[in-house]
């Protein structure tokens, strides 16, 4: 059984690597944007008094690129492949073998976690080597935010896969959610620049809490309990709803 799961995960990993769009949006785009804009736009590398003397690349930009990768995985890559597997009867076909279709779901989750770890590590390490972005002062605090945020986004992905009737709907719903959620995270309008009400709303969204948690831990601060609680709440709610609503066929 463990042999079968290992094999399943290995095949799923190869299939992921054969999807150029998934690899591009989850890994190449965030890392590429950080390095390309970080090296070419001079203002990004100047100490910014509004950020307490930090440079824009140090915490906000790096945090947003880590977030972009994980949001792409949760809202597009994971639900997209699960819905296609259901639509094509792959999950149903598996249920006639000694392997449970849940194993495929677990393999998919594992791959998305591994890809988010790889993308985040590349962002941090290349950002550090090329742009001099400081590594998180407290790796444990950063890891806690990263784990909670990744769980939250993947749980939302599972919920999307659970309720979407077909692949076209899941892709549409994923993109429709992605832009407001990235906006609320501060992708285009940094959270400190948001009007107070918007900032308050952002605090309670999964991406707002995740983005701020990443910025705090990358900037050498402690994550705010509110944001950790918000993330845990979303992960739990989306995860439970997905478990209740998920259909294998």
């Amino acid at each position: 059984m463990t042999k079968a799961f290992g094999k399943l995960a290995a095949v799923e990993a190869r299939l992921f690597l054969r999807e150029p769009m998934a690899v591009f949006f989850a890994i190449v785009l965030p890392v590429g944007l950080l390095l390309a804009l970080g090296t070419t736009i001079p203002g990004f590398r100047d100490a910014d008094p509004s950020l307490g003397g930090q440079r824009f690349v140090d915490a906000p930009f790096t945090a947003m690129m880590v977030l972009l990768s994980i949001v792409t995985l949760g809202l597009s890559v994971l639900p997209g492949s699960l819905v296609i597997y259901r639509e094509r009867g792959v999950l149903r076909r598996l249920s006639t073998t000694p392997v449970r279709p849940g194993a495929l779901l677990a393999a998919q989750l594992l791959i998305n976690v591994v890809v988010s770890v790889v993308a985040t590590t590349l962002t941090l390490v290349l950002g550090h080597l090329i742009l001099g972005v400081p590594l998180p002062g407290s790796p444990w605090a950063f890891a806690a935010v990263f784990v909670l945020g990744t769980l939250t986004m993947l749980a939302i992905g599972l919920l999307l896969a659970a309720v979407a009737p077909n692949a076209r709907v899941v892709q549409g719903a994923g993109s429709a959610l992605m832009f407001p959620l990235l906006f609320l995270a501060g992708m285009w309008l940094p959270r400190p620049a948001m009007p107070e009400l918007l900032g308050r709303i952002s605090d309670f969204t999964p991406t707002g809490a995740f983005g701020q948690g990443l910025m705090d831990t990358l900037g050498g601060h402690v994550p705010q309990p509110l944001h950790l609680a918000v993330l845990a709440g979303w992960a739990l709610a989306a995860g439970l709803a997905a478990a209740r609503l998920f259909r294998w066929e």
């Binding site: 042999k3 095949v11 492949s81 073998t97």
Partner: protein, 293 residues
């Protein structure tokens, strides 16, 4: 000893009755067909046998481990486009405790191990699907609408694959609506119509049940009334110069003795085919259900 026994199976979805009352049993080593029109309840029946659906009433007994020893090829089940033939077979082989040699299966099915699923033709996909059903070395293989949508050549190649399965001693439960497929492959068939079994017999037995009649059609200018007296002849009908004679036994010789073939033109002989038998058997059932209601 029967390896599959289905006893008064009934399956409803809300108020819709998919399977009314189906019973049959399949002996070890035979190719057993379930034949019927679309919507007759064939797929629901085999899905209950495969353990994918729970019967509303009745029982299904399979004398084999459903997951380990029953290989399934389902209608409308496919694989990710980017998976390669070899990867899919190796993956499915890893699920079973006693897998078959998957390379040999691929070779036998004429499949290129490196070809991605998305690039396979309809026939290749079907043959891969059958190979996947066999990769766990099952005792029973359930094949649903194996050749629907395939061209005649691909259909023949898939049939050859089924013949080889049978030679290995695997019991095959085959769902189809092609009579030619039944004639070629099945030892016995259950004819299903409107969720009920109308007949279970060998293909030849079904033809015999439907009358097993022969029909001679020819043109002649001679009088044909003398033919009616022959014991082999059941009926004679004329339409202009065309004559149709139906009957049994050695009809052709009997007719030729009275009416020399040199006096006839365009003589042809037709037999009741399995197609005819199927139409007769299901038409009776339709009339039957109308009387009941």
């Amino acid at each position: 000893m029967a390896i599959i026994t289905v006893n008064h199976l009934r399956k409803t979805y809300g108020t819709r009755v998919a399977v009314e009352d189906v019973s049959f049993s399949v002996e070890e080593g035979e190719v057993f067909g379930i034949v019927g029109r679309n919507g007759a309840g064939k797929t629901t029946t085999v899905e209950c046998v495969a353990g994918l659906r729970t019967p509303t009433a009745g029982t299904v007994t399979v004398d084999a481990d459903l997951k380990e020893q029953v290989g399934v090829q389902l209608q409308e089940c496919s694989l990710p486009d980017k998976i390669r033939v070899g990867e899919a077979l190796a993956l499915y082989a890893s699920f079973y405790s006693r897998p078959a040699g998957w390379r040999a299966l691929a070779e036998e099915a004429g499949l290129d191990l490196r070809a991605p699923f998305g690039k396979l033709s309809g026939g290749q996909r079907q043959r891969l699907s059958v190979a996947l059903a066999l990769v766990g070395s099952p005792r029973v293989a359930i094949l649903d609408e194996l050749t629907t949508g395939l061209d005649p050549r691909a259909r023949r190649e898939t049939w050859d694959q089924v013949v080889r399965i049978r030679e290995r001693g695997v019991t095959v439960l085959l769902v189809t609506h092609f009579m030619e497929e039944v004639e070629r492959l099945c030892d016995r068939v259950a004819v299903v119509s409107r969720g009920r079994v109308r007949a279970v017999d060998t293909p030849a037995g079904l033809v015999a049940r439907a009358g097993g009649e022969q029909r001679l059609v020819f043109h002649t200018d001679d009088p044909v009334d003398g033919l009616r007296a022959l014991p082999e002849v059941a009926s004679v009908t004329t339409s202009g110069s065309e004559v149709t004679v139906t009957g049994t036994g050695d009809l052709l010789s009997a007719v030729a003795a009275v009416l020399p073939p040199s006096r006839t033109r365009g003589l042809r002989m037709e037999r009741t085919t399995l197609d005819d038998a199927f139409l007769v058997l299901t038409a009776e059932s339709l009339a039957g259900t109308q009387e009941e209601s």
